[in-house]
């Protein structure tokens, strides 16, 4: 269940309460998010849509612990992250969040295998264990045969699949996707959304996605519209 009324109907995986984010440019204050409430249960697939500048990416950054809110609280799997120190937030991020970006953001000097392995370098897994995890993640996205290719040797769709493998390799609590199909053609975009679909349905992953693409948003169970920093409505996909 996804709720934006802030009434707190029960235990939730992601609980956002009265979230405000204000940027200051000179003497001007820009209210990017205003009193936002959100509850997302484990296994949900939520799409955030809205015009540019509506605060979608800011919300994603806050949920992923990349930025701190001006006020309000975010609790993920029982951890209140808004008051964590930078160091704790970094290790929390490594444990709980998988990020997928529009531009893939792979390290160009590393192979697909090495890119996917990056989050595991922070764990205590042995080399053999890391290899097993990486191979599994690459197999899930259908790139087991491209393991030793560099990003420049892959298509855009394949690069994004490597990015997904990197996001899931450490088995995070939830995935945050920022326009994952924004730089891809229709066919590749559908393939990426198929993989994300599978992660939700087969692997019971919780996914929060920001997109401008209605076809990508339709895959989500719930679409939330964000406008001028306010969550406007919750619509069940297909309703």
């Amino acid at each position: 269940m996804v709720s934006i009324d802030g009434k707190g109907n029960g235990p939730c995986l992601v609980c956002v309460r009265n979230l405000d984010k204000i940027y200051t440019r000179g003497s001007e204050e820009i209210h990017v998010l205003q009193g936002l409430n959100l509850e997302v249960d484990a296994g949900d697939f939520v799409a955030f849509m809205g015009p540019s500048g509506s605060g979608k990416t800011t919300l994603l950054n806050l949920l992923g612990g990349l930025d701190l809110p001006t006020s309000g609280s975010i609790t993920v799997a029982g951890d209140e992250i808004t008051h964590m120190s930078a160091g704790k937030l970094t290790s929390w991020r490594a444990r709980h969040v998988g990020f997928i970006f529009q531009m893939y953001n792979l390290i160009p000097v590393l192979t697909a295998f090495q890119n996917v392995e990056l989050p595991l370098l922070l764990t205590r897994l042995s080399k053999a264990e890391r290899r097993k995890h990486v191979e599994t993640a690459l197999a899930v996205v259908g790139l087991a045969d491209r393991m030793y290719h560099y990003p420049r040797q892959l298509s855009g769709g394949q690069e994004q699949r490597v990015a997904i493998a990197r996001a899931i390799v450490a088995d995070p609590t939830f995935l945050l996707c920022d326009e994952p199909t924004g730089d891809l053609d229709r066919k590749s975009a559908d393939e990426i959304m198929d993989i994300i679909d599978r992660l939700v349905k087969e692997y019971k992953k919780t996914v929060l996605i920001v997109t401008h693409d209605p076809r990508a948003a339709e895959r989500a169970r719930v679409i939330l519209h964000l406008d001028k920093g306010v969550l406007m409505e919750a619509v069940k996909a297909g309703a």
């Binding site: 930025d67 000097v109 590393l110 990056l118």
Partner: protein, 379 residues
Amino acid sequence: MKSFRLVWANLRRKKVRTTLTIGSFLVAFFLFGLLAALRMGFQGGAGAAGADRLNVINTVSLILPLPFSYRDRLLQLAGVKAVTHATWFGGIYQNERNFFPQVAVDKDTWFEVYADYTLTPEAREAFLRDRQACVVGRSLADRFGFKVGDRIPLRGTIWPGNWEFNVAGIYDGSQPDADTSGMYFRSDYLEEQRAFGKGTVGWYVVQLDDPEDGVRVSKAIDELFSNSPFETLTQTEKAFAASFVKQMGNVELLILSIGSVVFLTLLLVTGNTMAIAVRERYGELAVLKTVGFSDFRVLKLILAEALLIAGQGGLIGLVLAKAMIPGLSRALPMLGVLYVSPLTFGLGFVLALAVGTAAGLLPAVGAMRLKVVDALRRV
């Protein structure tokens, strides 16, 4: 280090830039090795100078002589164990470019006082037997191919004429930086053949009973000959060697100045290169932080890159210097014994790492402080 592959991959990202930066360290530390060796060479073994030896020279100038009669008076002083003497000859072997030091020494006492020069008993005996005998240092023998029994002709400059010497032996030094580029011959041969300056010597070397007694004995010697036509200046062998070097200018300051300029330039060039390399990768560093790399870990990654560049360049430069300096020493013997000691090598390597750390520190701190959200916006 699990992240080593990442560091290594980053170094290979711009191969030309990395090679050039390593190259600048290589050149700088080759120069460091060379300058350190030159410094040692100019010191003329001052570092290895005997702590129990004093040199007595004419107080006006090193080139003015002292009377031979001083020898016995020196021997009578309390605290003096032995006295020997030497005279600079300044002959030319074949042509001026073949310069090497030639010194006339007392046949009976010189190698007693300078026990750190080693001669075989046969050579010692031959030196004592033949008035025209000489002994040559190992590096001098190697340079001109001198062998025992060879005849060395010299053209005198201070004492004109053709002088001939028989090689009685080849001496070595007990220390690796010992100067073996010279030739010693018998002072009685010089005394017999020279047209002027008879009854004088160039300088005396006084061996002490107790090395701690140097100050007192020096003072006693200079007081003994004060108000005489040949007043003396007595100093430790180390100070004597240093004053010899000072005749050529302040080599130490020159070397230090060149070294400082080179290292400052290296620091600026490498610092700038590292800063550019980090700035180009802000997006990637942000991704690393996003997946959970801590700020400190990112700092360590950048510093590791800087250290690898500096370490490789410094090491290759020092190894090249160590390999090439013996050849240089042979080609330019007037520079003395050029030698990269293990201490110089180690110091150079530590210095390379220190310069690398200093050059990488600012970019690394910048990367550490990088805000993920800001950096991701630039991607």
